[in-house]
């Protein structure tokens, strides 16, 4: 998955990348973090579906772990991808809010 790839993907990938931008986390940490900042609760299957896609695209990578739980960390490509995606979202949000404000006034 490239930057273009996550542009059209669901927001879940963006949520995972955003969470990992704050530091490496394993599955449970990711779920709790995403729930805290986005009020979205991902299930384990959904979360690892996202992680699998992102890892395959080279946007995240698994870190070695002593137990079976791998922490995941965002790669440089992942940071760039999520930065672009969030910038684009912010631009659309700003534009949309301006229009909505105009319609309400």
């Amino acid at each position: 998955m490239t930057v273009e790839g996550i542009r059209g993907s669901s927001d879940r990938s963006v949520l995972v990348l955003t969470s990992l931008a704050g530091g490496p986390k394993h599955g449970y940490g990711l779920i709790k973090d995403i729930e805290a900042f986005a009020d979205v609760r991902l299930g384990p299957g959904t979360l690892y579906g996202c992680l699998a896609k992102l890892e395959q695209a080279g946007l995240v990578e698994a870190l070695p772990s002593e137990d079976r739980r791998h922490p995941y960390r965002i790669t440089a490509a992942g940071l760039e991808a999520v930065r672009e995606r969030l910038t684009e979202s912010a631009r659309i949000a700003k534009f949309g809010l301006r229009r909505v404000a105009g319609a309400l006034s």
């Binding site: 599955g27 449970y28 779920i31 299930g43 384990p44 299957g45 959904t46 979360l47 690892y48 579906g49 992680l51 699998a52 079976r68 739980r69 791998h70």
Partner: protein, 178 residues
């Protein structure tokens, strides 16, 4: 949730995916359950749906088309079979062996199965021996959803008798009166 259940659910996922992430998903699921963060039912549904999603995602385009086609074909066959069930109660092309003519224009036809009681409109045509005659006539049965009783028309050549069902349409016997 027991390990055998996770193993069973794991089979929904593509093998490669399962080998890479299966244990992590299982551990995370158990952790969420232990922490009371998720109910067993939600977890089960989530694992099934995401497993199917991964399975679909793993298919390449050709296989996806083939699988989609097979699913569509199965759906069509299922639909056809279910509609066939609707019509199973109709008379066959030849009169049923238990058909009993009790006099013209009153007739009794044995029915092997109940007629459909709330289905879409359909019209059936069959040849039946005319009451009191050796000739075959054509019977049309029109059944309209939620508009009982059904109406029957028995025609022979230019003669036509429109009959209606005055009795209860039930398993076994259909009574029609002219």
């Amino acid at each position: 949730m027991r390990s055998w259940l996770f193993r069973s659910l794991g089979k929904l996922y593509p093998k490669q995916w399962r080998e890479r992430y299966g244990k992590e998903v299982e551990d995370l699921s158990k952790e969420l359950l232990a922490a009371g963060e998720v109910t067993r039912r939600h977890l089960l549904l989530e694992l099934v749906s995401s497993g199917l999603a991964e399975r679909v995602r793993s298919l390449n385009r050709v296989r996806l088309v083939v699988v989609s086609g097979a699913v569509a074909l199965l759906a069509i066959i299922g639909l056809a079979l279910s509609l066939g069930g609707v019509f199973r109660g109709r008379p066959s092309a030849s009169p049923p062996p238990t058909c009993r003519i009790v006099g013209h224009p009153l007739a009794t036809f044995a029915w092997r199965e109940p007629l459909p009681t709330s289905r879409v409109t359909f019209t059936l045509t069959k040849l039946v021996p005319l009451p009191g005659s050796d000739t075959l006539g054509q019977m049309k049965v029109t059944w309209i959803k939620r508009v009982p009783p059904p109406r029957f028309m028995v025609t022979a050549g230019s003669a036509m008798v429109v009959v209606s069902c005055t009795g209860r349409v039930d398993r076994g016997t259909l009574y029609i009166h002219g």
